[in-house]
């Protein structure tokens, strides 16, 4: 990990250690991550500007900086549209014509992501967004923070190619219907495009520019999910290590029993190797080609999807009955990890795609979801 990335991670971690405790976490999960005051607090700290280019008054750091921030946010389990705010404006501004100079609204906007590929091979059940000449059509379930967002970033694929739209979430033809969410950190909704969605507004990216953007978008979505999962895993190892030293049974701390020690050792090996993999991925991502980036991202997410969930499950087991309750925050970490697990592909789906790529050449891009 480079010094800059380590610094970003430490800055975020230090602030959260100081100003974000279990009580705040509970308050934020009660409103499922939607709290404008909190978002303003974070915006004032400058985190959302980390990877926004200099020209748009950002800090101009590489996108890897967002990954470093996500590790700390995952460790403290901070709800809200944080990955969206950290990544989407920064990424869009890199791809829009003229550096997006006419989109000064972007850095401050909450952008919700409507990309059926997030569901991998489940997109048949969750999303049928397709590109039509007049604009995107179909619907997707779930979309994080669609109701609350200012803008929807819509990836619409068709036989003619990919188009990226940026639509007002309250504009004509866009129907957003909140649905119950089992992710304690996010509000969810179904987004339906009743034609003509976004009438009169042209896509912001088309053709090969859209393809390039979407490739990067998906890779970074995977990398950020892996980083958040790494944070979750590292956080739970620390928490569980502390717990087994104070909880006593048979007259001894349970951490003295070898079955417990070995479980903790395995959790440590999983969490620290996942963390190392994320560090290396962030380091390498900055200098890699599009094909390499796809592979790096898929590998990181594949490992994270498996390793972090295993760490969560061991943490629950090591806490005994308490681990099964809502008295500790373990269940929040676990539910978040489960929600992230299949987001842009779980380990089964991705290892399969990686294998295919190695056997038959680059095909890592999501299969086109033209239905």
């Amino acid at each position: 990990m480079t010094d800059t990335l380590a610094e970003v991670e430490e800055t975020v971690d230090a602030y959260l250690k100081r100003s974000y405790d279990a009580q705040r976490r509970h308050a934020l999960t009660r409103c499922q991550g939607w709290d404008r005051t909190f978002l303003e607090e974070i915006a004032d700290l400058g985190w959302f500007a980390l990877a926004v280019p200099d020209e748009a008054d950002g800090l101009g750091l590489p996108l890897s900086a967002v990954g470093a921030a996500m590790m700390s946010l995952g460790r403290h389990l901070v709800p809200g549209p944080l990955p969206e705010r950290l990544l989407l404006p920064a990424l869009l501004l890199r791809h829009l014509d003229g550096g997006g100079s006419d989109r000064s609204d972007l850095p401050g906007a909450v952008v919700a992501l409507v990309d059926p590929a997030a569901h991998g091979s489940w997109s048949v059940d969750g999303g049928h967004v397709r590109g039509e000449p007049a604009g995107p059509a179909g619907s997707m379930l779930p979309v994080r923070f669609a109701r609350e967002a200012d803008l929807l970033l819509v990836v619409a694929e068709s036989a003619e190619g990919t188009a990226v739209h940026l639509l007002s979430s309250r504009g004509p033809g866009v129907d957003v219907e909140p649905v119950e969410s089992a992710d304690p950190t996010a509000r969810l909704a179904r987004v339906t495009f009743a034609e003509p969605a976004g009438a009169g507004t042209a896509p912001v990216l088309t053709g090969s520019a859209a393809e390039r953007f979407v490739t990067e978008l998906r890779a970074w979505a995977q990398i950020l999910a892996a980083c958040e999962l790494a944070g979750i895993a590292v956080g739970l190892v620390a928490e569980t290590t502390a717990f087994v030293q104070v909880r006593e049974q048979f007259g001894r701390p349970i951490g003295a029993f070898q079955a417990v020690k070995h479980t903790l050792a395995d959790m440590y090996a999983l969490a620290s190797s996942l963390r190392n993999l994320c560090d290396v991925t962030l380091e390498d991502a900055t200098s890699s080609s599009a094909d390499e980036l796809l592979m790096l991202a898929a590998v990181a997410k594949a490992y994270a999807a498996d390793a972090a969930v295993r760490v969560c499950e061991s943490a629950i087991q090591m806490h005994g009955g308490t681990g099964f309750t809502t008295e500790t925050d373990l269940h929040l970490y676990y539910k978040r990890a489960l929600a992230l697990r299949a987001w842009y592909g779980d380990h089964e789906e991705l290892t399969h795609r990686i294998g295919d790529n190695l056997l038959t050449g680059p095909q890592l891009a999501e299969p086109r979801s033209t239905s």
Binding site: G255, A256, H262, N276, L277, A302, T351, L359
Partner: protein
């Protein structure tokens, strides 16, 4: 490969890599024969060839006959050697395990007389640590050495001693003090394997190879000048030996697994019937993908190891995380490939999916040893829990 803090070193390593490649491209790389004695002879010659060309003992001191370069140079060569599909020299126990400890703790005479011969392959070394009653609990070892004039007189038994039947020297742990606590009564001796009173009996491994032995010692006389370090001070040296073994071994093995997976991918890619049955095609892709992910995890892990090697931290508890991951990943990779042999794994001459059954079935069996030797996976977990996480000791 790595993000190197020092640009001069990075440039030097790049240049060194070019030299390695060039030499390996022109070298006559030997075929490895199946029979053990033939293999031993060929690989010993290969070690001599490598030694003459300056590729052995790369990170060793010059007095000891080494090249006086860094561990990173050694790593570069190991990587290139594996990528060239060239075999390892035969004397790895000497080169990676016991030699570095002798170089560090030995007397000037021991270092200058014994180490150049170790490097050149003239002397093959073995490591006599484990005993029938002292495996994981190594410090309970019982082989006795009593002082008699200018000699130690050694009696007892060693086991699992790799290459003992072919070795000319053994780095042996012996008990020299019965009154001191277990680990404070152990000394580190260099034993000439041709001494009277030594009998070796090879044991057959599940791979069919006879790489390790029982070693029986009956009143074997060992000159006192063959003591390494202090009398009763052998335990610290043994810990150094085990630690050195871990870091160097991890780095070398990682590249070997990568080369192995690439070979499997090459065999699988060339197989026209790979997708003839979609169920099997699915499994092939999953096995390759899973193995690749595992190897990337190992690569990320070893970048930290390289950092420690570059900073010369010596053995640390984090090495145990490397060892645990390494064992797991070796077993995962070879297990995944071997599963693709299907029912034909029982017929070594077959080539299901284009895979070489004899090779993959052998290497898969061999992978089962990984979590046993050099400190079992259970022992590594104990170390992680106690020394890294600070959980109570047993």
């Amino acid at each position: 490969m790595t993000t190197m803090a020092d640009p001069a070193l990075a440039a030097d390593l790049t240049q060194y890599r070019t030299q390695c490649r060039k030499w390996l491209a022109e070298a006559r790389i030997p075929e490895v024969p199946l029979s053990l004695t033939e293999r031993f002879r060929v690989l010993r010659e290969w070690q001599h060839t490598l030694y003459e060309a300056g590729w052995i003992g790369i990170a060793w001191s010059r007095e000891a006959g080494g090249q006086g370069l860094t561990h990173l140079h050694q790593l570069v060569f190991s990587e290139e050697l594996a990528r060239a599909r060239a075999p390892q020299p035969i004397g790895l126990i000497g080169l990676d395990v016991v030699g570095p400890s002798i170089d560090r703790f030995g007397t000037l005479r021991q270092r200058t007389e014994l180490l150049p011969r170790l490097l050149s392959g003239e002397d093959i070394w073995c490591q006599g640590f484990s005993e029938p009653e002292a495996g994981s609990d190594l410090s309970s070892l019982r082989t006795r050495a009593e002082i008699d004039g200018d000699d130690f007189v050694v009696s007892g038994q060693k086991v699992w001693t790799s290459w003992a039947h072919l070795a000319s020297w053994c780095a042996m742990l012996v008990r020299t003090n019965l009154d001191a606590p277990k680990s404070r009564g152990i000394s580190y001796l260099l034993v000439d394997m041709s001494s009277p009173g030594i009998v070796t009996r090879p044991l057959t491994q599940m791979t069919g190879d006879q790489e390790f032995c029982e070693v029986f010692l009956d009143r074997v006389r060992v000159p006192r000048e063959n003591l390494v370090g202090e009398l009763d001070g052998g335990w610290a040296i043994a810990r150094h030996t085990l630690g050195t073994e871990r870091a160097a071994y991890t780095l070398r093995r990682r590249v070997e697994y990568e080369v192995a997976l690439q070979d499997a991918i090459d065999e699988l890619s060339a197989c026209p019937t790979r997708d003839a049955d979609p169920r099997r095609g699915y499994r092939v892709r999953a096995a390759v993908g899973r193995s690749h992910v595992a190897l990337r995890v190992l690569e990320a892990q070893t970048r930290k190891t390289i950092g420690r090697l570059a900073a010369d931290t010596g053995p640390v508890p984090e090495d145990s995380v490397d060892k645990l991951l390494l064992n797991d990943i070796e077993q995962q990779v070879y297990g995944s490939i071997a599963d693709l042999l299907g029912p034909l794994r029982a017929t070594p001459a077959a080539r299901p999916l284009g895979l070489d059954v004899a090779r993959w079935a052998h290497d898969h069996l061999y992978s089962r040893a990984a979590s046993i030797y050099g400190g079992s996976s259970q022992i590594q977990r104990n170390i992680i829990a106690e020394r890294i996480l600070g959980l109570p000791r047993d």
